[in-house]
Amino acid sequence: MSGKADDYEAAITPSASESVATFAERKGALSRVQHALHVNPALVPLFVLVVSISLFGLLLGSKFFSPFALTLILQQVQIVGIVAAAQSLVILTAGIDLSVGAIAVLSSVIMGQFTFRYGMPVEIAIVFGLAFGTAIGAINGWLVAVMKLPPFIVTLGMWQIVLAANFLYSQNATIRSQDIEAEAPLLQFLGTAFKVGAGEDGRGGATFTYGVIAMVLIFGVLAYVLGQTAWGRHIYAVGDDPEAAQLSGVNVKRTLISVYAVTGFICAIAGWALIGRIGSVSPTSGQLLNIESITAVVIGGISLFGGRGSIMGPLFGALIVGVFTLGLRLAGADAQWTYLLIGALIIGAVAVDQWIRKVSA
């Protein structure tokens, strides 16, 4: 048998021309790229991220390509990043959550007001804030899963309700950073910063905050959960085809409710991180978090139709937005250019998503 194979090889070798070999190789490389993108959709945003960092690095030199500026981007995207992680879970189930930002802000207001208005121990107030976010998420999930209402409508309504409740409850009053620092520093815990490689005077160098680490941890945990646990696989299954998932024994309702509840919980953590970032408790912050998180998720290559995408994508998506914002700012461009380019990126990301799907199909 081996002899026969040898004969066959020998027979075709002389007839194989150079051009055919090149063609076959090119096709192989392209399909390898297509395959890689299909298996891991986060590669596209990662590529864009690396290219944009290099581009701004070349353009702006050490001003941008410094530990200080690069870690500054991490700090600036931490809130959007955490909320985008939460948003990804809902979008993977083919839903959308417009109430994420409002939940984050009201959770932070609850943490602050429970401490300062009712004199609660700050730990308890934080637990209440986190529980509140989870509860609102669970209500969203119940309305979507059990009442069968469209996620867009449910969370559109919840967004208004939570935002109005936020202003009514807080009376739009800010709790000042100095008061929090003096009486309830735990509220600012996620804003705690530590520096790596700073100069003698404590300036420059890489600066990380606990909030940034929390963001990375949340993405890490979600990546594990989505890839390695039954619950994670169920999320993909429900997003891909809820009926097929139901028939395969997945409890679709419970999965959906838990996804929205976890989303609410992560948003409440974002609210806590928000206090750390801005120092104060401010009911007017985070108004655009829902749109910004959806932007990060879409640029991160998660399909809005559900069931497809890598959780690391939105992290890269949020970072891309951060890189463009700071890079263009340092380059002295009008802030409008940032929005224009982000808009182009969103459309580009969806186009690439469609292209990958078409090729692989």
């Binding site: 300036r203 985070g286 700012r329």
Partner: protein, 339 residues
């Protein structure tokens, strides 16, 4: 018997009705952007107090959020139908609302724009507002005086409101630069100045988060910034957090505009150096009195001499008074603050 009863009831109601009409013959409307912002809450307090004093009826309306134009239009229509004598209005959409305002004026109401001038300002019968340019000028002069000779080498960050450059943002920004002694180029545009002392302009949306991010961005451009102009006190608080994170909170001068209570407290704590305080309560109570005067004999309020609006006053609040710049202390500012 039944008829008699009904008749008596009618009589009672109509007497009560006319009695009410006698006591509250003049009614006025207050329409604000929202009813949650402490600035507008204070405005409503001022209007309510003045109305009670003059025996007027006040109805208050507010948009659901800042920018909620439709609710404001509906409120104007309600006021016309209600037979109000006048409307105090802080418009969300200063140009689109002029149609509804004209309707009210045609119906014989006096319309006074509070805090925010309409576009064009002449669309209202009068404007009662803070002189925002002067507010900026005061903090600019103060900052220059604090720096003394170093003002020539200042590194200035300008934290503005929004990329669309709303009037209030431009007036405060340009006022500050004028007060600091910087050539304005076009006084209607932010960011077109070519003075090398200005590191850059960025936008904050007037909140803490925006203030922090904008400050970080400008610090990345130039870490030696030592003067920071901010559109309002929440943005200033955010900028302070950014400076604190790199250990520079004590060697940078932050100035602001507004005069809210948290902002004044931040001056006492050394977060903000000085702020220009505005007076929403006074705006509203003067507005109600103007409506009462109009209802009595048709007199229209007159503008402050030399300005195209009625200036409701502004005062510089600081605990470090500078020569040649009039200011009030933090204690006085706290008595007058809102929110």
């Amino acid at each position: 018997m039944k008829k008699l009863l009904i008749g008596t009831a009618f009589a009672a109601i109509s007497t009560a009705g006319s009695a009410m009409a006698d006591a509250h013959s003049v009614s006025a409307c207050l329409i604000t952007k929202t009813d949650t912002n402490p600035f507008f809450v204070k405005m409503r307090e001022g209007a309510e107090a003045a109305a009670a004093e003059l025996g007027m009826t006040l109805r208050s309306y507010a948009g659901k959020i800042d920018g909620d134009h439709e609710t404001q239009v509906a409120a104007i229509e309600t006021c016309i139908a209600d037979g109000a004598k006048g409307i105090l209005l802080t418009a969300s959409d200063t140009s689109s609302i002029t149609g509804a305002v004209q309707q009210a004026r045609d119906a014989g109401l006096i319309v006074i724009a509070l805090d925010t001038p309409l576009d064009p300002a002449s669309a209202a019968d009068a404007t009662f507002a803070t002189d925002n340019f002067l507010a900026g000028e005061l903090i600019g002069k103060w900052a220059a005086a604090q720096l003394g000779d170093d003002a020539a080498n200042a590194r200035i960050a300008m934290l503005d409101l929004a990329v669309s450059q709303p009037t209030v943002g431009v007036l405060r920004d340009q006022g500050f630069l004028q007060g600091f002694g910087i050539d304005l180029a076009d006084p209607n545009v932010n960011g077109d100045e070519d003075d090398a002392r200005i590191v850059g302009n960025d936008v904050t949306a007037g909140n803490e988060e925006g203030g922090r991010t904008a400050m970080e961005n400008l610090l990345a451009v130039d870490p030696t910034i030592n003067v920071v102009y901010t559109i309002n006190e929440p943005a200033a608080a955010g900028a302070y957090e950014a400076l604190k994170s790199i250990g520079r909170e004590n060697d940078v001068l932050i100035v602001s505009v507004d005069g809210g209570c948290p902002g004044i407290q931040n001056i006492a704590d050394g977060v903000i150096g000085a702020t220009s305080q505005q007076y929403p309560l006074r705006m509203a109570s003067l507005g109600i009195k103007a409506i009462a005067a109009f209802a009595a004999d048709g007199t229209l309020p007159e503008n402050t001499t030399g300005k195209d609006f009625f200036d409701t006053g502004v005062a510089l609040v600081t605990d470090k008074p500078a020569d040649g710049v009039e200011s009030i202390s933090v204690a006085e500012g706290t008595d007058l603050c809102w929110g």
